[in-house]
Symmetry: C2
Subunit: 430 residues, 2 copies
């Protein structure tokens, strides 16, 4: 259960969360609502640090500090985004812009007094990645020989101090955004908005255990931001209500003209034989909220009755194999410790060599039962648990347990690497 202080702060902040906690927070079973049990799991299993204010930030869709498993999950998600949006598309180019904004044209202000320099230096930070992409539009034109459509992509931190103003304390103003800014002709812009909205929804669903929790909707006219003529959103149904993971905005050519006011000719691209100033689609995903959505979506409580009629509950983080931060945990059974350890070390390096992230469970010498071990690895979302035992020293055989089926297979140590690579690549190609 979340601490009282944390829950109190959460409630003050967000009316959806408030309703959620009113409803579920005081449940008689001691707080087994999905959000608070998820937060405990994340703290316990090295996804986020144990201090509550990190959990609060994450619940509010902001960045928090991440522990080893959280870092790898977020890295894997950003890597998948980059690979699907940039690396596989010849018309999309990656860029990176500064976090501080407003130092543009600083070359012209050499004569400022010391004082105004000091004021300028306390520059504001970017609140989205759109402006940076618009700034790099002109040099990027050469990349495609002024041919439409093309896009500029960037992932990185943005600052949102303006949201829920009264409660910024104890909660980060940082958000990790993944942004594509897409330049296209007016006549194709509606089709592109449609294409990208569908694509983005499918991308999120690709990694989901429950795809129907991800949905999309059009932005209503009264919600449109300044300059946008249309918009769409990708949503996730959190336990406390629906929130936005990603927003798509359609802007006219005015957006580029505003950014580069004296340069209309320099802005023009070829649309067939016509020269036009492109329209702008801006896609921006909140990857911190995305991390939380993917985590909640993959959490499964499984109840089982054993043959003595006792009820067992298993909590499994069924993260998609591509996203799972740890693919394999390596542990050793009883037996001659130093020899088993050597086998584990050798196998670990074999796995790491081919990029399979492996957890050195054998280094933890506090002996815990197999049940406890499986509980731990299930909560970490580890795909396979490999047990090296006395047997392995004799005949090279290992026990490999599958997270999703809980089936234990015997396998030769020489086969394990290929077996795991195949499982992951199979999951990727579905």
């Amino acid at each position: 259960m979340l601490t009282y202080c944390m829950r109190k702060r959460l409630c003050r902040v967000n009316s959806n969360l408030l309703q959620f906690y009113k409803h579920y927070g005081k449940s008689s079973d001691g707080g087994s609502d999905p959000a608070s049990s998820m937060m405990q799991l994340l703290q316990r299993r090295f996804f986020i640090p144990p201090e509550d204010y990190h959990a609060v930030s994450l619940l509010k869709g902001k960045a928090c500090a991440y522990g080893p498993l959280g870092v790898d999950l977020k890295r894997n998600m950003l890597e998948q985004w980059w690979s699907s949006m940039v690396r596989s598309r010849p018309q999309v180019f990656g860029i990176s812009t500064l976090h501080g904004v407003g130092d543009k044209g600083a070359g012209e202000v050499e004569d400022l007094s010391k004082e105004s320099k000091l004021v300028r230096r306390r520059q504001p930070f970017r609140t989205s990645l759109l402006q940076g992409a618009l700034a790099q539009y002109i040099p990027s034109l050469e990349l495609m020989n002024r041919k439409l459509p093309f896009g500029l992509a960037e992932t990185g931190l943005c600052y949102r101090p303006e949201e829920d103003d009264s409660d910024a304390i104890g909660c980060s103003a940082e958000v990790t955004e993944a942004s594509l800014v897409w330049f296209c002709s007016f006549r194709t812009s509606l089709q592109w908005l449609d294409y990208w909205t569908q694509h983005r929804l499918q991308w999120w669903r690709k990694f989901a255990l429950g795809p129907s929790d991800f949905s999309m909707c059009d932005v209503q006219d009264d919600e449109l931001i300044d300059g946008a003529s249309r918009g769409a959103k990708v949503l996730y149904k959190f336990p406390w209500g629906t929130e936005t993971l990603e927003t798509l905005w359609m802007f006219s050519e005015a957006e580029l003209l505003k950014r580069h006011p004296s340069n209309q000719a320099k802005l023009e691209c070829r649309d067939g034989k016509k020269a036009v100033v492109p329209h702008v689609l801006s896609l921006g995903a909140n990857m911190d909220r995305g991390v939380l959505a993917v985590l909640l979506n993959s959490l499964q409580d499984i109840q089982k009755v054993d043959n003595k009629q006792r009820l067992h509950q298993r909590t499994v983080l069924k993260l998609h194999p591509t996203l799972a931060p740890v693919k394999v945990a390596l542990d050793m059974g009883k037996g001659s410790t130093s020899e088993l350890r050597q086998v584990c070390e050798g196998l670990l390096h074999e796995l790491l060599e081919v990029g399979i992230s492996a957890w050195p469970g054998y280094m933890d010498t506090t002996h815990s039962s197999m049940d406890k071990l499986h509980t731990k690895y299930d909560e970490m979302g580890v795909l396979f648990t490999v047990m090296v035992g006395e047997n392995t020293l004799e005949n090279g055989l290992l026990l490999v347990r599958n997270r999703d089926t809980t089936v234990r297979e015997t396998m030769h140590i020489s086969e394990i690497r290929e077996f795991i690579l195949k499982c992951i690549s199979k999951a990727e190609n579905i």
Copy 2:
């Protein structure tokens, strides 16, 4: 040549750079000094945007905005760092911390007045990644069951507004750091400092065309930062003088005690059978300055006399195959445009599918001579240029030009993917 304004600003800032420009800047050949010709190349070839203040930031070892090629070069370097420091080491765990610091314990300040909340909210930003790692030390202890040594790694932006104070305008205060914080016992700390210094030097040299430009030195006693008992540096010999790429500091257990003053027992680890508070080694590399060092190190001017006794100059960016942002450029010769284009598109997707970054040169329909094309791709550091021609439609044969040897080979279209993968993996394993 750099613009006059840019050079003037540069000179004011850095006395090494000043000497450099005094010496070389007014050279009679119109400014062919390596730094300014490099900056022009980077602007021309999509590594950085064309505005001079980006070049100034980079020359000063700060982050700048990056264009598509710069982004990929920096990504590849950070990826190599992560793979060598984190992914291949079971005792090193990745973490991520917030950019803003000072909101720790915010839960305890609920009663602050509105005014002091506003003051607090304008929180300072991190200047290094060390403090974040020290903060995550206690929860990380469980990862290794309190066994030494282990490390916490992070890459990300830091803010250095305090350096060269008078000239922060027009130059970023942002620096991308790659940091490992290594916890070990006092009795092994000197050995570890030695190990890591050697390792880091070798890492930089691994990608170098001229490894001897990278060197290391011990930090003198009067240069030690607060709390450090020893230090070492990895240096690069820039054209204007030697600068620091990476710093290694050795701290005693006092560093952890200072960060967690009331928790000595919670800080203790096992060193064999003794319980000790670990000593701390902090490694921090400036990856923006690293990008510039790698670029300058790989720049080669090659002069050739042809059989008519004419002098030709070739500028090649001989980036290490693993780091090169573009591995293959795809272009098409004269012939039936739409058919050749289809072949190019098919081949491009085949390459992108297996993660070979390919440049869609065939999309640029301004016909330029082969010489111009090679000049462009050599300056972009592209490993192979593949030409699809009429021939390809008939018998599937392509021309493949090697950046480093300039040799052109004929190859069947079905072999090209394997050929390139082999070349890259061969270079990685040297």
